[in-house]
Symmetry: C2
Subunit: 351 residues, 2 copies
């Protein structure tokens, strides 16, 4: 057998300095070029291993959980001696795996925040079949945020034409996609966001019927009553805490709350209290938490539903691209101060 | 047309002195014999009117809501100049209604707390067809608590054999019925109650696998972990507040919480906080509130499911009977100090 050799190159990585308490700071992470990597699957690697060039990294608020010390099965703590990881898009440079050929593009979970990765057991990756849409779409509308929004809204919320839908963090990765699904279903859609610019964008670019800046509303109950005089049928929950508490008082009979995330609670040692759960009884409200991982087995069904909308330009998605791994820490941390508009992505390389 | 005449009798009634704040006291209600009633449907009454003798009155914690001033559509405040009302069983003494004949027994909502009632528009009443079971069953297992327990557990909770079920206020009207439905489904069932006597009853009479006295458990989380080392699949919620908060930390993946009531919260001006809602995401928990009224249209389906169990003595229900209207105020108020064991009923007359 001929000896196989690959270039050995520096491999820039983003790592955690230590476990984070409270609000994450840019200085909690660091970028290092100490490591090198050979651009091939080394001899002796397990059968199935692939070597990839990482292209797009997805910044997700749930990554905050993995930067802390608390162990939760679904979100294991990041090791301190390896790059952080998450959803992303990569290109196969070498392969010992019959499913992935050299040149294939893939997306999925466990993409490391580094330039190149050896993946010894490539589980949870999808081969990108439809390359007639921009590649970074697989970090947003065709990736985790799209899957989350599609099943979380169209399935868990069981929307019906004419229903009143409220979405918090509506300009975020999932929120602005859910709003468009809701409009396609014929719902009345209102979103909350944290700046005037985001509010405008929801109304002008994504077709929300109304939107408001929650930071400017001192009385959230009054704001919700203004936009929903008849109450809310569906609340797509991305923030938690006080917003959820106020929404509970404004739900209509047989209302549904899909709990996608609670970004306002991620950085708190002690979560905020919710007082108004009693209202789920008289209003027959269903509150349902869900995790996107459960739906990846139905990815092809998702593509069938959503690709036509993208190709017909009936649905837009927004990305906020930070160029290069060096900008990764600021991009990730920026999620928690609301710096991003739309899906925050880090472009490690453009193929 | 011959003139119709009926005896005129004194009509004992239970009324509210004023609107209740905080924990209800026996002195918030009074019994009066000032009123009289003619034992026939008066000439000039609307077509459809009936005159009934009230037999059994159901004491329900949701009646607390109606003793307060806050207006909630489902639970309108009791008027101060009329008897209080609720579920109950009555016998038809006179009728201008083709659906109800003299001698018919009925059960339903809006039975007044008085000896005799003229019901001008008898809506929400069912004619009792199966008289081979004790009549007071229609105030418990064959009435509201049974309907609530059956649809709340067997439908909303979607129970599966072998699942771990927790029931709070388990010796209460609905709780002890739900526990038996859960055993019939092959579940592992644990209940909480407020006294040693109730705990024993759950284990010996109703077949609960385990039960505990929540007043003796200073650390509810530890108690739940002791009884559910693998977590809880189904929580049938009757109490709310701190118990719900601790249960949320102990739910298994895809767990279900049916919110039937929150008795611990009824007497509070400000409800207790719940902190642990975030756990519904990673554990994919569904929380669903429901109201028994929605299921009365399916009463015959309920009877088909439950009557055989009663006749085969596979399910028991427990009543705590207070004799006579004079004992009504104490019986109703006793719900909130946990005085009753099983369904609290007031027997106005035994037919």
């Amino acid at each position: 057998m001929a000896s196989r050799g690959g270039d050995v190159v520096k491999n820039k990585q983003v790592k955690l300095k230590g476990y984070v308490k409270g609000s994450p700071k840019e200085s909690d992470l660091y970028v290092t070029s100490e490591s090198t990597i050979e651009l091939r699957v080394p001899d002796g690697s397990p059968e199935g291993a692939i070597l990839v060039k990482n292209l797009y990294l997805s910044c997700d608020s749930s990554m905050r959980i993995r930067t802390g010390e608390s162990q939760r099965a679904e979100f294991p703590t990041f090791p301190l001696d390896a790059p952080i990881s998450g959803f992303g898009v990569a290109k196969v440079l070498d392969s010992k795996n019959p499913e992935f050929k050299v040149g294939d593009l893939i997306w999925g979970f466990r993409i490391q925040w580094e330039e190149y990765s050896l993946i010894t057991k490539p589980e949870g990756f999808f081969k990108i079949q439809h390359t007639d849409v921009p590649l970074s779409y697989y970090a947003r509308i065709l990736g985790m945020p799209g899957v989350t929004g599609h099943f979380g809204f169209n399935e868990i919320c069981s929307p019906k034409e004419g229903e009143y839908v409220f979405i918090s963090a509506a300009s975020g990765a999932v929120g602005h996609i859910v709003g468009q699904f809701a409009k396609l279903k014929g719902c009345y859609v209102v979103g909350s966001a944290g700046s005037k610019e985001k509010v405008e964008l929801l109304k002008t670019k994504f077709g929300f019927d109304e939107a408001f800046n929650y930071k400017e509303e001192h009385d959230l109950v009054a704001a919700l009553k203004r936009f929903f005089p008849k109450g809310i049928d569906i609340y797509f929950e991305n923030v938690g805490g006080k917003m959820l508490d106020e929404v509970l008082l404004n739900m209509r009979s047989r209302g549904r709350i899909a709990v996608c995330g609670m970004i306002s609670q991620h950085n708190l040692d002690h979560p905020e209290p919710v007082y108004n759960l009693r209202s789920v009884i008289s209003n027959r409200v269903r509150i349902e938490g869900f995790v996107c991982f459960d739906y990846f087995s139905r990815y092809s069904e998702f593509l069938d539903a959503v690709l036509p909308y993208i190709k017909e330009k009936k649905i837009n998605s927004l990305e906020d691209v930070a160029e290069g791994l060096d900008s990764g820490p600021a991009a990730l941390v920026g999620l928690f101060s609301g710096r991003n508009i739309g899906k925050q992505v880090v472009a490690v390389a453009h193929e």
